[in-house]
């Protein structure tokens, strides 16, 4: 039953993987510089690593906004956010999982009578605006640097393209890592306060309760990438490539940096150490940051026809998404509590979750252990299978080429 409650979060993770992976590898796959297979494998691994090892920061901020203290509540919020994302996508409205989950949490606060922390909320909302702006700044800076280096080095086009291809893979991996680190909070953040799992000892390291949830969420994102992101990468990704290959890598790198900055507690601590204000650990929308980056480069290159309609739609999305998700969460919580009789959470008194209903099933950790083993074995087998097929293809190609030249002689 406990696992059933996780399904809404896993579904949210799947849809995040299916849609947002294109922001990271879309330009590489859309321009055929990197094959989808390679991109999917790299993105899946990086997203899981980012989620497990750096997902805590942004998730904590969401926890401060609303510490959902019953598993039924977490399930309902994730479902409300997922439905909002699905409906808005269906009507081609720009939507961000981040904004949907924030709206849902506020809906939960209203329903359970908890106060929404205004400080945390303003911190989150400010990053929605500052994320794309920062992305634009990074993009322009990186673009200037890369163009100057290219001109000064007089590098051969093919060699430059080879650097670019390798760069796209590395930057894509970094982007997927940052996406996992930053956006796992949207997928599993609401489940963290409601779950209290046993530590999972994996020999080399141990996974805490939240890390186990992030691992599951990361796996869901990976499944979304592998099963459904190909089409999105080939179509949406193509739009980004229209800039040019240098701009494509810059956009992905700038976006990854923004996501990384808003999820790296190490960097935030460093800021504090040198006397600067700490960086808020907040989940930001990768799609909106990418729009900021593209507009930044467009402005730098002197484009006059900035798509104000798109900017307006994003602005509307900042309000419409949380409102819709919040309302949906509020009414869903009402139904779940009163019709199905499932506990959806209590009012937090004096900072402590009074009467919190946390799940402590030790079976889940065992399931995660076996799941991890199964994923590793499957990954290994698939890797061996594809490398054999690749080798066979290369051999056949060489044979046919040799035959061609032999007969031509």
């Amino acid at each position: 039953m406990i696992l059933f409650f996780l399904t809404s979060g896993l579904f949210l993770g799947w849809s995040l993987g299916a849609n947002d992976a294109s922001n990271v590898f879309g330009s590489a796959v859309g321009s055929k510089m990197v094959t989808f297979r390679k991109a999917a494998i790299i993105a899946s691994i990086a997203v899981i690593l980012g989620a497990v090892f750096q997902g805590a920061g942004a998730s904590e901020t969401l926890g401060k906004l609303g510490g959902v203290n019953a598993i039924g509540g977490s399930f309902t919020l994730a479902l409300a956010a997922a439905i909002t994302v699905y409906v808005m996508t269906k009507f081609s409205l720009p939507v961000s999982t981040t904004q949907a989950i924030v709206g849902a949490i506020i809906g939960w606060n209203l329903f359970t009578g908890n106060k929404t922390d205004a400080d945390t909320l303003s911190k989150i909302v400010v990053t929605w605006v500052s994320g794309p702006v920062l992305g634009a700044l990074f993009a322009v800076l990186l673009y200037i640097i890369i163009i100057k280096i290219k001109k000064a080095s007089r590098i051969h086009l093919i060699r430059f393209e080879s650097f670019l291809r390798t760069g796209l893979i590395i930057v894509g991996a970094f982007g997927a890592y940052s996406l996992g680190a930053n956006n796992i909070a949207n997928v599993m953040g609401v489940f963290v306060p409601a779950f209290n799992l046993q530590e999972l000892d994996l020999g080399l390291f141990t996974l805490s309760s939240s890390q186990q949830l992030f691992l599951l969420g990361g796996l869901a994102i990976a499944v979304g990438i592998i099963t459904y992101s190909k089409k999105v990468m080939e179509t949406i990704g193509g739009n980004i490539v229209e800039l040019n290959s240098e701009a494509a890598i810059v956009v992905v790198l700038a976006q990854s940096l923004v996501l990384f900055i808003f999820s790296s507690s190490g960097l935030s601590n460093l800021f504090v150490k040198i006397g600067l204000p700490p960086i808020p650990m907040v989940p930001v929308s990768s799609s909106q940051v990418i729009v900021g980056c593209v507009i930044g480069i467009g402005l730098y290159k002197g484009a006059r026809n900035i798509n104000f309609k798109l900017l307006g739609e994003i602005g509307i999305g900042w309000i419409a998404t949380p409102v819709m998700s919040g309302l949906l969460a509020f009414f869903s919580l009402f139904f779940v509590k009163n019709i199905f009789g499932i506990d959806v959470g209590y009012k937090i008194i004096g900072g402590a979750a009074s009467g919190a209903v946390t799940a402590t099933d030790p079976g889940i950790s065992a399931i995660i252990r076996y799941l991890l083993l199964a994923v590793l074995i499957t990954g290994l087998l698939v890797g061996i299978y594809y490398s054999l097929i690749e080798r066979k293809k290369q051999k056949e190609l060489k044979k046919s080429e040799d035959k061609f030249w032999h007969y031509l002689k």
Binding site: S31, K32, H156, L157, I158, E161, T166, I169
Partner: protein, 216 residues
């Protein structure tokens, strides 16, 4: 990863080698016409054989480059254009070879009075094509200099046209002692030589558009 494979280096070398072959082919064409005018048929045959080898090499390299670009998905955004450019450049060396073959088959009788005109015509036509090669190389390394390099191609092409026109005028209006069939044959030979610069201009037009696309 592409960066750590030899493919990139090999491909760059092959493209350079391909362009070397075209350049060398043009050089040999110039020498061949000089040998023909000097009536040194032994040297002419030797040159023809050399051009034949160079044309074969260029074909082989062109196929290898295209194959590698497709198999390793190199330059996905510019691959088709680069392949078309190589094709047009290959047509130049094909034209060189076929022109020389016309000479060896038809053995046109060039009046001594036209020797200088034919040499000048060859010189200008070959020069136009030769100027194309540095521009083609620049496309890969300094694309923003391609257009200025191509100016010379257009200059020599128009020079070729002028020389060809004057030579044809001389043949048909001033040389009363040769018959019409001979005149027509000479015009045909001039057209063959002139063809090389026309090919170069066609490639220059394409290269110019490619360079703009890559710079923007």
């Amino acid at each position: 990863m592409a960066l750590f494979k030899r493919t990139t280096k090999d491909l760059i070398i092959r493209i350079d080698e391909f362009l070397d072959n075209i350049e060398l082919g043009l050089l040999v064409f110039r020498e061949s016409i000089n040998s023909y005018i000097d009536k040194d048929m032994e040297a002419f045959s030797r040159h023809l054989q050399k051009v034949d080898t160079l044309e074969g090499n260029a074909d082989r390299l062109q196929r290898m480059i295209e194959n590698e670009m497709i198999t390793h998905s190199i330059l996905p955004q510019h691959r088709e254009e680069v392949a078309r450019l190589l094709d047009v450049l290959d047509e130049i060396i094909d034209t060189v070879k076929s022109s020389l073959n016309e000479f060896i088959i038809e053995m046109p009788e060039i009046p001594a009075a036209l020797n200088k005109d034919i040499i000048n015509l060859t010189e200008a036509s070959v020069e136009a094509a030769e100027e194309l090669i540095p521009a083609a190389r620049a496309y890969f390394t300094t694309p923003y200099t391609v257009r200025e390099k191509l100016l010379k191609v257009y200059y020599f092409e128009s020079e070729t046209d002028k020389i060809a026109l004057n030579t044809k005028k001389r043949i048909f209006q001033e040389m009363k002692d040769i018959d019409l069939a001979h005149k027509a044959h000479l015009r045909y030979i001039i057209h063959h030589i002139e063809n090389i610069s026309d090919m170069a201009q066609k490639a220059a037009d394409m290269l110019s558009a490619m360079a703009i696309k890559i710079v923007i």
